[in-house]
């Protein structure tokens, strides 16, 4: 029995190590274009892990993670924009008749500040909304709606404040990061490697978090919040913490996204992308850490693949994929794996019984 547990752990570790090495060495066997796409998918995968912590483990569905992703992305983009203009005003500001840099943009002249704010700002917003709602035991569908309204409100604000955010066209035309030209293949490879490393770190960190006592409390809140409350835990504090954490992770994903894609606009962070993010988690399998990663990469790869092969009707394929998964695999792709494992186990048990019979 003990040896099988060790084998299992070793097996997991080996599989993850192989995956990690495969991802790290991707620059060797993928073209620059494919590598860039994969990097984008992995940035989404980071966000999906954070979303799964909230939805799959704590049972709080947020339809508003696009905005946290967007805030991180905009923080990074503001710095990149300023660096591209070498101290001058970004082009859209001159167009809307501004003569000096607005106050909000000032901290983003410094890359370190921009990166820190890209994590802290979404986290702060999530903390405020989370503590105001969870404290009053606003949960379930109420919270989901509020999180979606947050997206609508902020996206409207982003579009409306054209002179500060670039309006609907967003921020683009970045050139350098720390003085290194961004659009060269070697820099993009570096961004890809950074994304893989961040993904691995967040993956391992979150796995550690949910496999311990803390994770059990989260699952307890998901399955019976009132019981946890009666046991003396404070579900609101746990929920607020996880919401804040997952917003911070989303911000990080947004920053990595902007570095590789080179543009961020309100349509990428609105209501539809926010719902799509939830779909990645659902398709991959919620309540596991590897599921959302698989889901995010697979859905986005399918999106790219379908749209390349069938430019006219690719959305139908994507829709069909979603319907099939929801109808036949309610637990997502990792659920398929679990049932397969359970079935094999029960078969093994059957074998043991047979052996026992033959001894009799």
């Amino acid at each position: 029995m003990q040896s099988t547990i060790i084998q299992k752990l070793l097996g997991h570790r080996i599989i993850f190590s192989i995956l990690f090495i495969l991802l790290l060495t991707a620059p060797l066997y993928l073209s620059d274009f494919r590598l860039n796409l994969l990097g984008k998918f992995l940035a989404f995968a980071i966000l999906a892990i954070g979303l799964d912590l909230l939805w799959g483990y704590t049972g709080v569905l947020s339809l508003g993670h696009g905005i946290f992703f967007g805030l991180g992305a905009y923080c990074m983009a503001m710095y990149l924009k300023l660096e591209a203009n070498a101290g001058g005003l970004p082009d859209f500001m001159t167009w809307s008749g501004m003569s000096e840099l607005p106050l909000i943009w000032l901290p983003f002249q410094y890359p370190i500040v921009a990166i820190i704010l890209g994590v802290l700002f979404p986290a702060f917003l999530a903390f405020v909304l989370g503590s105001l709602t969870f404290r009053n035991r606003i949960s379930g569908v109420y919270f989901t709606i509020l999180s979606q309204a947050l997206v609508l409100v902020l996206v409207t604000l982003f579009v409306g404040a054209q002179n500060l955010t670039g309006g609907t066209s967003g921020l683009t035309n970045f050139e350098t990061l720390f003085g290194i030209p961004m659009n060269e293949a070697s820099t993009q490879t570096m961004f890809y490697i950074i994304t893989v490393v961040v993904l691995a770190a967040i993956f391992l960190g979150c796995r550690r978090l949910v496999n311990g006592r803390f994770g059990n409390v989260l699952i307890g809140i998901r399955d019976g919040e009132n019981r946890m409350r009666f046991l003396g835990y404070n579900p609101s504090a746990y929920k607020t913490f996880i919401y804040t954490l997952s917003a911070a992770i989303a911000g990080m994903a947004g920053m990595l996204f902007v570095l590789q894609v080179g543009i961020i606009s309100p349509t990428m962070i609105g209501i539809i992308p926010s719902i799509e993010m939830v779909l990645w988690v659902a398709l991959g399998g919620r309540g596991t850490i590897i599921g959302p990663v698989i889901g995010a990469v697979l859905v986005n790869a399918a999106k790219t693949g379908f749209s390349e092969s069938y430019p006219d009707i690719w959305t139908y394929f994507l829709g069909l994929l979603f319907v099939l998964v929801v109808v036949f695999l309610p637990k997502g792709l990792t659920g398929l794996f679990e049932t397969w494992k359970a079935r094999r186990k029960s078969q093994n048990v059957g074998k043991h019984v047979d052996v026992a019979k033959s001894y009799r």
């Binding site: 909304l129 105001l132 709602t133 009053n136 035991r137 606003i138 569908v141 109420y142 709606i145 509020l146 979606q148 309204a149 947050l150 609508l152 409100v153 409207t156 604000l157 579009v159 409306g160 404040a161 019976g224 919040e225 009132n226 209501i271 539809i272």
Partner: protein
């Protein structure tokens, strides 16, 4: 028509349509057997199931009715403005917010919530700008929920999730 206030016929029609819808929904929910079952499922799903209510059937019927009324609302909207494939997304959030403010499962709450949000929305957008108005409405709703966490009308039930 009345004094300096004038209402176009199309708007009067929408007003009448919504009153008809409201009355028929009220009749369905509070005067028919199916409506009673629906309310029972809403208040305590498991207990309703134990007492022989087919929750599956109730879910299906309720979803169908809800979708139908959304269609009626869509018809009314064609009289007010431009129509496009994405017209629904503009109203999703507002519709949800109405339910949150009014209280889930309360007809009167939904009506009051719709009036409240509609009026405040118009006032804020008139006083400030469209985008700032949205922010103010959102903040107002968050503040309102601090005072009334489960909406204007609370449906009491003994079920504990």
């Amino acid at each position: 028509m009345v004094g300096s206030l004038s209402l176009p016929y199309s708007r009067l029609f929408i007003l009448a349509l919504s009153i008809v819808c409201l009355v028929s929904i009220y009749y369905y929910f509070y005067r028919t057997a199916n409506g009673r079952r629906t309310r029972a499922v809403m208040q305590n799903r498991q207990m309703a199931e134990c007492l022989g209510v087919s929750t599956r059937k109730v879910d299906m019927i309720t979803f169908a009715i809800g979708s139908g009324f959304a269609g009626v609302a869509g018809c009314a909207l064609t009289l007010l403005g431009a129509i496009g494939p994405t017209i629904g997304t503009n109203y999703i959030i507002d519709a949800f917010m109405v339910v949150v403010v009014g209280g889930v499962g309360a007809l009167f709450g939904a009506v009051a919530g719709a009036f409240g949000i509609g009026i405040f929305n118009t006032v804020f957008e008139y006083v400030t700008s469209a985008s700032i108005g949205k922010v103010l409405i959102f903040l107002l709703i968050i503040a309102f929920l601090q005072w009334r966490p489960s909406g204007l009308v609370v449906s009491r039930s003994r079920s504990l999730d």
